[in-house]
């Protein structure tokens, strides 16, 4: 189909004409919009024609014609503007795409359904977490009170049982809190609070806090960082949580050697935080899985080492929210390095 710059149809071929069910005389000499449904007319007027006038061509444009049977006919069109001796024209090449349109529609519907199901899942998790926390806090609270009762104080067996009840209650509470964190972050309900942050000071503070955490005898915990680096803009509390998680893990899985927290810099700015350990390592085929909720490198790890299996999942989504990337490299029995690449711009997260 050839259309003048002012939108009047100059020529149209028999095939396209047959799709529309119109006579040639009803189309030639009239605005080509008459072929289209109203939404397409608006799309044409407000978006596509300005684009064509500015750019000279449009590829794979989705339009809807009024079909001969009265039903909308989705088509794919390429348009090209040409300067001819008799004036500027736009040549349109039009292909029907009913079938493809239906596939696209099904895909979109499926995606919408999946998104909705995922949102419902997060909503359910967050609701359940709240519901679970309340009775659990009562269990932990009353266990503590029982500890102080004279009958329990004099009974070693009862004390031991109560301690187990409390420890398990706390573990469950930590799990639920982390689940809540994860769903909140995934739902985007946590606005980062951005401020200038001294990364080296932050790392030193985290390490000082973890000095007292139980670890294998002889395992050293060291910080390698250069002083005097410029601050970066980020959410210090969230970044601390990530570093606490990584260092805590490293201490847990290292039986000999050292855990080093390294602030990598470019001479002026910190560019990454690395947590290097000489621990048990992670098999190559498990390296990505550890970032999925409830995964640890090996089944049974949880029983041996404790932990909820949510820490790294939270660390990764937190990093993503802060414009950082969390990656890992590891060699089994030699050690593991987690690396947080910090945002490159000093002013933006």
């Amino acid at each position: 189909m050839r259309v003048r710059e002012d939108g009047l149809v100059v020529a149209i071929n028999a095939t396209l004409l047959s799709w529309t069910g119109l006579a040639r005389s009803q189309v030639v000499g009239r605005r080509f919009d008459v072929l289209c449904t109203l939404p397409t007319r608006i799309l044409l007027q407000t978006h596509l024609l300005p684009l064509l006038m500015g750019s000279g061509r449009g590829d794979e444009l989705h339009l809807t014609l009024r079909g001969a049977d009265g039903a909308p006919l989705p088509v794919l069109a390429n348009a090209e503007r040409r300067a001819l001796p008799e004036g500027v024209v736009i040549d349109w090449l039009v292909l029907p795409m009913r079938q493809r349109h239906r596939f696209e529609q099904e895909l979109l519907d499926a995606r919408r359904a999946a998104d909705a199901a995922n949102a419902a899942k997060s909503e359910f998790l967050s609701l359940m977490s709240h519901e679970l926390r309340t009775p659990l806090n009562a269990i932990i609270g009353f266990t503590r009170i029982l500890h102080k009762s004279p009958t329990v104080a004099s009974d070693a067996r009862a004390r031991d049982f109560l301690a187990r009840v409390e420890a398990n209650g706390r573990h469950l509470l930590a799990l639920i809190n982390q689940l809540l964190d994860l769903t909140r972050i995934e739902a985007g309900h946590d606005e980062p609070e951005l401020a200038g942050t001294d990364v080296v000071a932050l790392v030193r503070e985290v390490v000082a806090r973890l000095e007292g955490q139980p670890r294998a005898p002889g395992v050293a915990l060291v910080v390698e960082a250069r002083d005097g680096l410029a601050p970066i803009v980020t959410d210090a509390v969230r970044l601390s949580q990530v570093v606490v998680n990584l260092v805590g893990n490293a201490l847990k899985f290292t039986h000999a050697g050292a855990v080093a927290v390294v602030v990598v810099d470019d001479g002026r700015l910190p560019v990454a935080i690395e947590v290097r350990d000489t621990g048990i390592g992670i098999p190559a085929d498990r390296l990505e899985a550890i970032f999925s909720p409830f995964e640890q490198a090996e089944r049974g790890t949880s029983r041996r080492y404790g932990g909820t299996g949510l820490g790294l999942a939270i660390a990764r989504v937190t990093c993503a929210r802060l414009g950082m990337t969390l990656t890992v490299r590891s060699t089994v029995s030699e050690g593991t390095t987690f690396r947080v690449d910090l945002p490159t711009s000093p002013t933006a997260p």
């Binding site: 407000t46 024609l49 300005p50 684009l51 500015g54 750019s55 000279g56 590829d59 339009l63 979109l108």
Partner: protein, 271 residues
């Protein structure tokens, strides 16, 4: 000037004149719609271009579903741009729905807006038969909104960035490597709703500033009846029927638009 508004609305100021001339784009593309017209006024005016939040290179993070659910939100954008640049007695050139946005802005900030130039304005796109013929039946508009909801690909991928060679206007190649019509479907739908379902007819009588109404030939979006209606309801307005056809004469027939606008600006300056 406050950098946040300038950044938020991607405000661009040029020109050697002092009288502010502000170009407001309509539903669809962005400030680059004005690129064949705006430069013609740089010798005589302070030319201001901006994108509404949700369009063009505006800061999408500043978009909110409630603020931009009605034209008031877009009018607030315009007033905030005028405030940010501390412009007084500006002439606002509004395309399509932006003509009504400018009307709302003029009643909010009368000290900032001294004249209105409207291209294809419409205060009400829906028909209110028998007295008012906006050009669209309610079913049409709901069909449009449903199409935007269900036909995400039809809207979004048609507007995907295209790198194109333009033999006629090679100077545009770089600028247009990035599509100036690319649109977030959610934001575009909100703008379409505010545009096509709004009724701003009652605001026309309140316009007290010199007003130019440019009406295109064969405009399917803002038909002739509507241009005449706007002209009748704004006391002292001037109606000019353009030779230009379609809905975007500033893209398709810039020379005519420049001539009509220059004429109006000359008179506005004299008054």
């Amino acid at each position: 000037m406050p950098p946040d508004i300038v950044r938020r609305n991607h405000v661009r100021v040029s020109g050697r004149g002092t009288r502010p001339l502000v170009f407001a784009h309509g539903f669809g593309c962005d400030q680059r719609m004005w690129r064949f017209v705006a430069p013609a006024f740089e010798a005589t005016h302070k030319v201001v271009l901006f994108d509404y939040v949700g369009a063009g290179r505006s800061d999408a993070a500043a978009w909110s579903a409630t603020r931009y659910a009605s034209l008031d939100g877009y009018a607030a954008d315009l007033v905030e741009v005028l405030d940010a640049l501390d412009l007084r007695d500006a002439i606002v050139v509004g395309h399509s729905v932006s003509a009504m946005v400018a009307v709302l802005a003029a009643s909010r900030a009368p000290e900032r807006i001294a004249a209105l130039a409207m291209i294809g304005p419409s205060p009400r796109y829906l028909d209110e038969l028998p007295d008012y013929r906006g050009g669209f039946a309610a079913d049409d508009v709901h069909g449009l909104l449903a199409a935007m909801d269900h036909n995400y690909l039809g809207w979004a991928s048609s507007l995907a960035p295209m790198v194109m060679a333009n033999a006629e206007r090679p100077e545009l190649a770089g600028e247009l490597a990035e599509s100036f019509c690319s649109t977030d479907p959610v934001m575009a739908r909100a703008f379409a709703t505010a545009t096509f379902l709004g009724d701003n007819r009652r605001h026309l009588a309140a316009v007290r500033v010199p007003t130019l109404v440019m009406q295109c030939t064969d405009d399917l979006i803002a038909p002739d009846f509507v241009g005449a209606y706007v002209h009748e309801r704004i006391a002292g307005s001037r109606l000019v029927r353009l030779q230009a056809t379609g809905h975007c004469p500033h893209m398709s027939h810039p020379t005519e638009v420049i001539a009509v606008l220059s004429d109006f600006l000359g008179d506005a300056a004299a008054s």
